[in-house]
């Protein structure tokens, strides 16, 4: 195995501002690429670290190049291999803004045929409704991985604060992570202010977080709670936009649930009417949408009190249960 010193080193230097990448197998000194912000340098033999130091020295600071990376690919004699890749990020003051380097890497990988890892989506029906004393949230309990149900009884109503709960649809990891993060932030805020959390605080934290990630965090949320200013219900979309509504639905079963709400919602619902309406909407999603199923979770939040009714309805019981354990008749032979 040839060691570092004897390698024919390939160097790529690129300036993220200019967006060019250049690979050469034999490096020769060139002056003509200044305008592109590229330098191609010949170096006889060097280890990775020496190389990056040399380069840092060589590339003048007056070049409009804030940040660059050096990517070394070592070449085994006669066989081009990418096995020895080291990246030395040179420190220059960051310009600010988003860094989409990993996205470039992902695009390059997918072009090479490496499939991106698939995510577990919840494929859901989640609803929220404001009734006369507060807010009722509802959700189904099916989590899907493509065509397969991977969790028959997952929890989609997440805790944010003692008086605020949030239902999540979309990528399961995203909804969990984002609600956990904001829940911790709300707790710290409560310690800092000494007061009960407000729903718009949760709303603003969630929406800023999701907007910052430009829709890549695929979490569609229904946020509901009761604070000193009254009951509130909001929907939050993956790109960070929000709505304030008297009744809301999200997820793949949202149309089926919205059909129920649009025909049956009225103002001044009592608690029983509200819970029934929510259950009907979720059941509509469960039975008319393939991405939703199993059971109904309900959460009722009123001033100073909350009731988390896990598996409030179980409309999909196992109907046929045989008393006999399945057994083969005697002397059955299978080849």
């Amino acid at each position: 195995m040839p060691n570092d010193k004897s390698h024919n080193t390939n160097i790529a230097v690129y300036s993220p501002l200019r967006g060019c990448v250049f690979f050469r197998s034999k490096i020769t000194p060139l002056n003509g690429f200044r305008s592109l912000g590229l330098f191609i340098v010949k170096l006889s033999s060097a280890s990775a670290i020496d190389l990056s130091d040399t380069l840092r020295f060589l590339i003048p600071s007056h070049l409009n190049c804030r940040r660059f990376s050096v990517c070394l690919v070592a070449e085994k004699k006669g066989v081009f291999s990418e096995s020895k890749m080291s990246r030395a990020a040179v420190e220059v003051p960051p310009k600010g803004g988003f860094s989409f380097d990993l996205r470039r890497r992902n695009e390059m990988l997918s072009k090479k045929g490496v499939p991106p890892p698939s995510f577990r989506k919840t494929g859901t029906t989640i609803v929220g409704v404001i009734f006369q004393d507060g807010v009722i949230l509802g959700a189904d309990t099916r989590a899907t991985e493509g065509p397969i149900v991977c969790d028959k009884n997952c929890e989609k109503i997440h805790y944010m604060a003692p008086n605020i709960y949030c239902c999540g649809a979309g990528t399961a990891a995203d909804t969990e992570a984002v609600t956990d993060t904001v829940s911790s932030q709300l707790q710290l805020h409560r310690y800092h202010t000494g007061r009960e959390s407000r729903v718009i605080a949760a709303l603003t934290l969630l929406k800023s977080h999701l907007f910052k990630y430009q829709g890549y965090v695929q979490a569609a949320l229904v946020l509901g709670g009761v604070d000193v200013t009254g009951p509130h219900l909001h929907t939050i979309y993956p790109h960070g936009s929000t709505d304030t509504l008297p009744f809301a639905t999200m997820g793949s079963g949202s149309l089926a649930a919205m059909a129920v709400f649009e025909s049956k919602y009225h103002e001044g619902l009592t608690k029983e009417e509200g819970v029934n309406l929510v259950c009907e909407a979720i059941c509509s999603g469960i039975f008319n949408d393939l991405g939703s199923g199993s059971n109904v979770d309900v959460c009722v939040i009123t001033k100073g009190q909350k009731e988390y009714l896990r598996n409030h309805l179980l409309p999909n019981p196992r109907t046929y249960v045989s008393s006999k354990v399945f057994s083969f008749p005697r002397k059955t032979v299978f080849n």
Binding site: I130, V199, I200, L203, T204, T229, G230, H232, H234, T242, D243, T244, L245, P246, L255, A256, M258, A259, V260, E262, S263, E267, E280, S284, F287, N288
Partner: protein, 243 residues
Amino acid sequence: MHSNPAKNHSLVGPEAASERTLYPYVTGTSVVAIKYKDGILMAADMGGSYGSTLRYKSVERLKLIGKHSLLGASGEMSDFQEILRNLDELILYDNMWDDGNSLGPKEVHSYLTRMMYNRRNKFDPLWNSLVLGGVKNGQKYLGMVSMIGVNFEDDHVATGFGNHLARPILRDEWHENLTFEEGVKLLEKCMRVLLYRDRSAVNKLQIAKITEVGVTISQPYSLKTFWGYSAFHNPTVGAEGSW
């Protein structure tokens, strides 16, 4: 909107002069229909959208076929008119037999299925979802054909957005032997939800009724809508800074 590709007059291949429906241009939105005690009730609004513009607001999408059937269509309106021409011819030839027999809804449905499926096999579909309902000899019939030839018969059908918004309501609330008033109320409920939540819906609809006795297609009328929720008037009360 896509502009029509120029007709290819070159001598290259038999495909050169084919004219297929590649995209729908003037489209109608959902049709909802149910069986009730005396026959079939069908509802459709009167909008013809040209892409995202609501161009035509008096398009009749429910038509009588022969004596026993009612056809409702969503999708490309020109293809619907073509279908009506074909069905006209069919009924005419049937009448010319003058044998006291007439094509009932089952027969017309079968004809439509064959027509739609054959066109799709030629990669030249009629871009419609059709609802066909009727009563003949006391038998009620309600069926649907889609643009690729999927056909089935059911107690309540809907096309387009109606599948997602109206069918959950119908599955919950439809039952055998609805009276006329109950049926109309149920259809209006579905059409109201569609009006609220389908962007290409218009508030001008017709409801058609077909029974053993005959057909009535109502005059166009509008549904009452309610926008008076206090949360709509004051959405950000207590939540300053949100919207």
